[in-house]
C-alpha cells in the first residue's frame, strides 16, 4: 500500500509539474450551418448562333455565362440541361410556354427562355422570365449591343432574372476594383465580378492604393502618390474627371464612404499620430474622430451609417474598435490574437468581416457579429487579407496567397465557393466590390 501511495504521489507531482496541454485552449467559434433554400431554375432556348460559319457559338457562350451567374448568386440552383426531359436549346421564343408543364413536374420553380439574334451590326439578346408553378410570365428584356458587349448583356439579363424573382438587385453586372503591382508601379484596375475584362483606371506610374466605390457607384476614392505624397483622390467613373480631395501634409489614406455617400472617413497623420477624420466628399467640413499618438486606420461604416469600425493600436497591438460617428462610445471588439485588422461591415449590418492572425501563420478571414461575438473562420489556405462585401452582402472578395502569390479571390458569405479571379502573373490585392 505504501509503495502504491508513494508512486501515486510521484505521479501527482509529475502531472502537476507538466505544462498545460497546448491544444486544449477554450475556443470561441460558433459554426452555423445555414441551409439556403435556392430557387430551382431552368435555362432554355439560346439555340446555336454563329456570327460567321465556323465561328464560335455565341449562344452557347451566353448560356454558359447565364447559368454561371445564376448559380453563383446563391439564390438559384440551375438545373443541368441534361436533367430536362426535352432538348433545352431547341426551345424557341414564342412557344416557350409549352415547356412549363414538364418543368413544373420536375418541381422547377423558375424558367428563363432566351434567344440570340442579329440585326444589322447589333447583337440582340432577348430573355423572358417565368414563374413555373403558376405558369405566369414575369417579364422580359431585350438587350442590343456589339458582339464585344455579349458578356455584359448576359450579366444584365441574369440580374433581371434575380430582380423578377426576388425583387432584389443582382450582382452579375457588378465590378471589382483592385490594385496590381508590377516592378515599376502599383496601378488600379476594374474587372467584371467574374474576373474578366480588366481595364486600367489609374496609369500615373506611381503607387495607387485603397480603391473604394461610392455607394452610387459613380465615384472611386483612392490614395495616390502621383504628386509625390499619399493624397486622396476621387475619380468619376462616368466622366473620367479626377479631383484631389485631401492633400494634407503626411498621410491621406484608407478612405471609407458613409452609406448615404455624403461623407468620407479617412486617416490623416497631419496632427501627430495617424487618426480617423470625417469630411464631406469634396473635402470640406473636416472633423477629427479619434485622438492620440497611435495609429487608427481602415475605417468601415455600419450599414445604418451611425458607427465606424476601424483598426487601431491604441491598446498596444492592432485590434478592431468601434466608435459612433459623433465620436463617442469608443470600444474594442477583438481580443484574441495579436493582430486583428481590416474590418468591413456587411451591407446587411449583421456581420463584420476582418482578418486575424489568431490561428498562427499568416492572416485568415473571419466574420463576427457587431458586438464581437460569434466569430466564424472563413479561410484556411495561405494568408488572406483585404476582405470586401458584395453589395447584396452574400459574397466576399479578398486577397489570398494560397496560389503562391497575392491574387484576388471570391467566396460566398458562408465561406463556400472559394475561387480565384486574377491570373495575370502580377501581385494583385486591395479589392473593392462596386454597388
Amino acid at each position: 500500500m505504501k509503495a502504491l501511495r508513494r508512486s501515486f504521489l510521484v505521479f501527482l507531482v509529475l502531472v502537476g509539474g507538466l505544462p498545460p496541454v497546448s491544444g486544449w485552449t477554450q475556443v470561441d467559434i460558433t459554426v452555423t450551418r445555414t441551409v439556403i433554400q435556392r430557387i430551382p431554375v431552368a435555362v432554355v432556348g439560346l439555340a446555336p448562333f454563329h456570327l460567321e460559319s465556323g465561328g464560335a457559338d455565341l449562344a452557347a457562350q451566353a448560356s454558359s455565362i447565364l447559368m454561371d451567374d445564376l448559380e453563383f448568386s446563391m439564390i438559384f440552383e440551375v438545373l443541368p440541361p441534361s436533367f430536362l426531359p426535352f432538348e433545352a436549346r431547341e426551345v424557341q421564343l414564342g412557344t416557350e410556354e409549352e415547356v412549363l408543364p414538364p418543368l413544373n413536374k420536375l418541381k422547377v420553380q423558375a424558367m428563363v427562355a432566351a434567344e440570340l439574334t442579329m440585326r444589322g451590326n447589333d447583337l440582340i439578346l432577348e430573355g423572358r422570365v417565368y414563374n413555373v408553378a403558376r405558369g405566369t410570365f414575369l417579364g422580359g428584356k431585350r438587350y442590343f449591343g456589339d458582339v464585344k458587349a455579349l458578356r455584359t448583356m448576359v450579366h444584365r439579363l441574369a440580374d433581371e432574372v434575380v430582380l423578377r424573382l426576388t425583387g432584389e438587385r443582382g450582382i452579375a453586372a457588378t465590378r471589382i476594383a483592385y490594385a496590381s503591382k508590377t516592378k515599376r508601379a502599383t496601378e488600379l484596375y476594374l474587372m467584371d465580378y467574374d474576373g474578366r475584362n480588366s481595364v486600367l483606371v489609374t496609369g500615373n506610374r506611381s503607387i495607387n492604393l485603397s480603391p473604394r466605390f461610392s455607394p452610387d457607384g459613380r465615384l472611386l476614392a483612392y490614395t495616390s502618390y502621383r504628386d509625390g505624397n499619399p493624397d486622396l483622390y476621387l475619380l468619376n467613373l462616368e466622366t473620367g474627371r479626377r479631383d484631389k480631395v485631401s492633400a494634407l501634409p503626411g498621410l491621406n489614406i484608407s478612405p471609407a464612404w458613409s452609406p448615404d455617400g455624403r461623407w468620407l472617413a479617412l486617416s490623416l497623420s497631419k496632427d501627430g499620430g495617424t487618426n480617423l477624420y470625417l469630411m464631406r466628399r469634396m473635402g470640406k467640413g473636416l472633423r477629427r474622430l479619434t485622438n492620440g499618438i497611435g495609429i487608427s486606420v481602415s475605417a468601415s461604416f455600419s450599414a445604418n451609417g451611425r458607427q465606424i469600425a476601424f483598426t487601431s493600436d491604441r491598446g498596444g497591438s492592432p485590434q478592431i474598435y468601434v466608435i459612433d460617428i459623433e465620436g463617442t462610445n469608443l470600444h474594442r471588439l477583438s481580443f484574441k490574437g495579436g493582430y486583428n485588422a481590416s474590418p468591413k461591415w456587411s451591407p446587411r449590418g449583421d456581420k463584420i468581416a476582418f482578418i486575424s492572425d489568431r490561428g498562427g501563420g499568416g492572416f485568415q478571414i473571419y466574420l463576427m457579429s457587431p458586438d464581437g461575438s460569434g466569430v466564424q473562420q472563413m479561410t484556411t489556405l495561405g494568408s488572406n487579407e483585404d476582405p470586401a462585401w458584395s453589395p447584396d452582402g452574400r459574397h466576399l472578395v479578398f486577397m489570398s496567397t494560397r496560389g503562391g502569390k497575392k491574387d484576388i479571390y471570391l467566396m460566398h458569405a458562408d465561406g463556400s465557393g472559394q475561387r480565384r479571379l486574377t491570373r495575370n502573373g502580377f501581385i494583385n490585392f486591395a479589392p473593392d466590390w462596386s454597388p
Partner: protein, 188 residues
Amino acid sequence: MVREARELHRKGVIASMVSWRGPLLGLVLLLPVALLLSGCPKKPEVQTAAPAAVAPEPAEEVVVVVEEEVVIETEEGPVTIQDVFFDYDKSVIRPDAREALDEDLSVLNENPGLRVVIEGHCDERGTNEYNLALGERRAKAVRTYLMAGGVDSDRISTISYGEERPFCLGHGETAWQCNRRGHFVVVE
C-alpha cells in the same frame, strides 16, 4: 561530318561517299568520337541519407531590389548617410540604430546646407494601410531624433511608403529586417 568523311576517304578508308555505306561507316566511326566529345553522362551523385532527427532549414531566399544608402561628397571625401533599422511593429530607435543616427547627425551638422527626406518603410507583414501609418511613425521618429540633435526642422521632411517599396524581396527575417527602415534621400 562531311569533312571527316572526306578525310577518311582521302586516306582510302571509305570507298565511296555516294552510296549509303559511306555515310553509315562515317557515322559508325564518328559515333564514339561524338560521344567522347559530348562527355559521358555523369554518374548520379551518391546521396548520403540526412540524419532523421533534424531537417535542415531551407535557405532563405532574399532578392535585393534596391540598395542605395546616400553617399554625399564632403570636404573629407564621400560620406554615407546610413539608414536606420527597426524591430517588428516598432518605431523605437534601438541602440544600433542610435549609433548610425549619431553619425548621420554629425554629417548633417557639419554640412548645414544638406537637406534630406526620411522615408519610412515596413516589412510585408500586416495590412498595407496599417503599414503606411507605421512607416510614417518610423520616419517621424528619426526626424525627432535628428531635431533633438540640433538639426533644423525645415531641413528634414518625411514620407511613408509602408510596405509598398521594399528594398529586399523575400519572406523571411533577413528580407523583413532589410525592409524595416528609415531611409535617407538627399534633396537637391
